[in-house]
């Protein structure tokens, strides 16, 4: 009985975002189904974090010029008043940032951080908040949770701070979790624990998640679908397994060729040139100046074409 509207939680349609003269996002389109995880990958400046910030309404007019549409659970977000947005953020949309040390307020205890969404969105009283906070900390693998409520962020390790931020993000049972590089500041053994934890919590609630990642192998393992971005545009999108087994866009291939695999001794192949500045983007295909397959045709912007389960924007794919 599922209709498209029921299975889609979030859809971005032709979303463009400009900051002054810089075209940060251009015509970004993708959808996220209920219970799905999608990964955004690409080099710095690709617009990955900008998409995350735009969805949660932290980049809005007049600071930026936004065009296109972001629909979340049937509601258009680009025109949503701030007062309504505040009911979504931290409630139905949870957020995990890269730098937990910066995202936690050094003057507030762990308990105060967790209490805020519980009181603001759920209206819980002090006793219930405390009980729920302890449960949340336990659910993210923090021992002696009752004692930790009184700890300040600096008294915790980086991994523990990240767990606290995950507990905050999950406090109100969000339908959508956005995690912007949730583990890139962490050691690899802690990264594995934290990613496992996030996935387990997301699946247990049948929630959806957007992961902003730079590690391709990690994206391959934690995402259902992966969107590859370059200089603010979607260049390829496919189910994760398919994308990495058979990358078709020259940029996806190039990214794959310069990612280290454990034990790989064959020379990595870097991508020639650098990501263009957002204020002077090349016309046509933005990757063309660095692309080994570029031809005269690439002076025209390639459309994002659907091919089975995949979408790809390249004249030569």
């Amino acid at each position: 009985m599922d209709t498209l509207a029921d299975t889609t939680l979030l859809s971005l349609d032709a979303l463009s975002l400009a900051r002054g003269r810089a075209d940060v996002l251009d015509n970004v389109t993708f959808t996220l189904g209920r219970g799905q995880t999608v990964g955004l990958i690409g080099e710095s400046g690709a617009g990955k974090s900008t998409i995350a910030l735009a969805i949660i309404g932290l980049l809005r007019a007049p600071q930026v010029a936004l065009r296109g549409s972001i629909r979340f659970d049937g509601v258009e977000l680009t025109t949503l008043p701030e007062s309504e947005y505040r009911r979504l953020r931290g409630n139905r949309i949870g957020l995990i940032f890269q730098d937990a040390t910066a995202a936690l307020n050094p003057c507030f205890t762990v308990g105060a951080h967790l209490a805020e969404p519980l009181s603001r969105h759920l209206g819980l009283q002090a006793r219930e908040r405390r009980q729920r906070s302890i449960e949340l900390l336990e659910s993210v693998g923090i021992g002696e949770a009752a004692l930790r409520l009184d700890a300040f962020p600096h008294e915790l390790s980086g991994g523990m701070q990240q767990r606290v931020m995950i507990a905050m993000a999950l406090a109100c049972d969000p339908q959508l979790l956005i995690a912007d590089e949730p583990t890139s500041a962490l050691d690899v053994t802690i990264q594995a624990q934290i990613m496992e934890l996030i996935l387990e919590r997301v699946r247990a609630r049948a929630a959806s998640a957007i992961f902003v990642l730079h590690d391709l192998a990690l994206a391959a393992q934690v995402c259902d679908r992966v969107v590859v971005l370059y200089a603010g545009q979607v260049v390829e999108e496919a189910p994760a397994a398919e994308l990495f087994a058979d990358p078709r866009h020259p940029y996806t291939r190039a990214l794959r060729a310069c990612s280290i695999e454990l034990g790989e001794r064959d020379a990595l192949v870097p991508i020639p040139g650098a990501v263009p500045g957002l204020e002077d983007l090349p016309g046509g295909c933005r990757f063309a100046p660095r692309c080994e397959r570029a031809s005269a045709r690439c002076a025209q912007t390639p459309p994002l074409v659907t091919d089975g389960t995949r979408r790809i924007a390249c004249w030569h794919a």
């Binding site: 080099e43 053994t189 594995a192 310069c258 034990g263 790989e264």
Partner: protein, 327 residues
């Protein structure tokens, strides 16, 4: 061509303790290094690998003579490092170059790139002053930068470019050993790949000894021919890269390898918990608290490094044999 059987550096049972406070029951100390042994052979490239707090950077500081060991000795060319430094610090500083983690922060913002790369040449009087600009151009070209960047300032360059300048500055002093602390961390994959390729070429071409600190096993395996895995102030396993990747002997090494994201295998979190505090080290093996193969003996006595075939050492009572991870 010098025929030298002595290792460039020998680390002999080195301890490094930092006093935290004078407690009521004696001083409270942090043991950053606790019984480290390591030989670094001339011409080899060694990766020091481990999580935050394992003592990698402290060990490099001791090798550079920036800190003294609390116990044990560091030998350079067979001589005690402290004596080498008091005899001829300038020579040591010329022979051993360091590439900092924060490349931009390691450069004087008022210096041009030309000044920065030329400084070691001038200080160590390696070329006549009038030849320095020419030499700087050559070095910049060698690291893949246009010589025209010599007139620019560090803030005008991208993150990848300043790392290349840092490498050019290290090469400028014609070093015998290059040490680098997380020199490719925090870069985009493409920029990281080209920097790693550059370092690999330079090591092969100049036959320089490389000591590379990294938390990234992929980087370590790409760049170096030996790995030393550190944990809580000690080296748990050393050996050739391929042997360790194919058959880690220490359970911690296997845990690290299995935690590494791969395209061909689902992500797993084989190690629970976090690295414990170096203030009170556990009795027995320091990894016992997180070890999936712990035995009663491991919590009572501390394993010392035992040799394995193939030039490997492992500090474990029950070293693993066979392939990495369950099939």
């Amino acid at each position: 061509m010098k025929e030298n059987r002595l290792p460039v550096f020998s680390v002999l049972d080195v301890e490094k303790r930092f006093l935290l406070r004078k407690g009521r029951n004696g001083p409270v100390e942090l043991r950053a290094l606790d019984g480290v042994r390591l030989d670094i052979e001339e011409g080899s490239s060694v990766a020091l690998v481990g999580e935050s707090g394992s003592g990698k950077s402290t060990l490099v500081r001791l090798l550079l003579g920036l800190d003294r060991p609390s116990d044990g000795r560091v030998l350079y060319d067979g001589g005690d490092l402290q004596q080498v430094l008091s005899r001829d610090r300038a020579r040591f500083a010329r022979e051993v170059a360091f590439v900092y983690q924060d490349a931009r922060g390691s450069m004087n913002p008022r210096f041009t790139i030309g000044d920065i790369v030329g400084e070691p040449i001038r200080v160590h009087r390696l070329h006549p002053v009038q030849h320095i600009p020419q030499r700087v151009s050559e070095l910049l070209e060698r690291v893949g930068l246009p010589p025209s960047v010599a007139v620019r300032y560090p803030h005008q360059l991208s993150g990848g470019q300043v790392r290349r300048v840092a490498v050019a500055r290290a090469l400028a002093q014609q070093p015998r050993v290059i040490m680098a602390d997380e020199a490719v961390a925090g870069l985009d994959v493409s920029v990281q790949a080209s920097l790693l390729n550059l370092l690999r070429e330079l090591v092969a071409e100049l036959r320089v000894t490389l000591v590379f600190v990294t938390h990234d096993l992929g980087v370590a395996s790409y760049l170096c021919d030996r790995i030393a895995v550190m944990y809580l102030g000690r080296i748990l396993e050393t050996g050739p890269v391929d042997a360790i990747l194919q058959g880690p002997a220490h359970p911690y090494t296997r845990g690290l390898l299995d935690s590494f994201p791969r395209f061909d295998r689902p992500l797993r979190a084989p190690l629970r918990g976090e690295i414990p505090s170096p203030v009170d080290l556990p009795a027995g093996c320091r990894f016992a608290g997180r070890c999936p193969c712990v035995q009663p003996r491991c919590t009572s006595s501390d394993p010392v490094a035992q040799p394995l075939p193939g030039g490997r050492l492992v500090a474990c009572f029950h070293p693993l044999s066979g392939q990495s991870g369950p099939t």
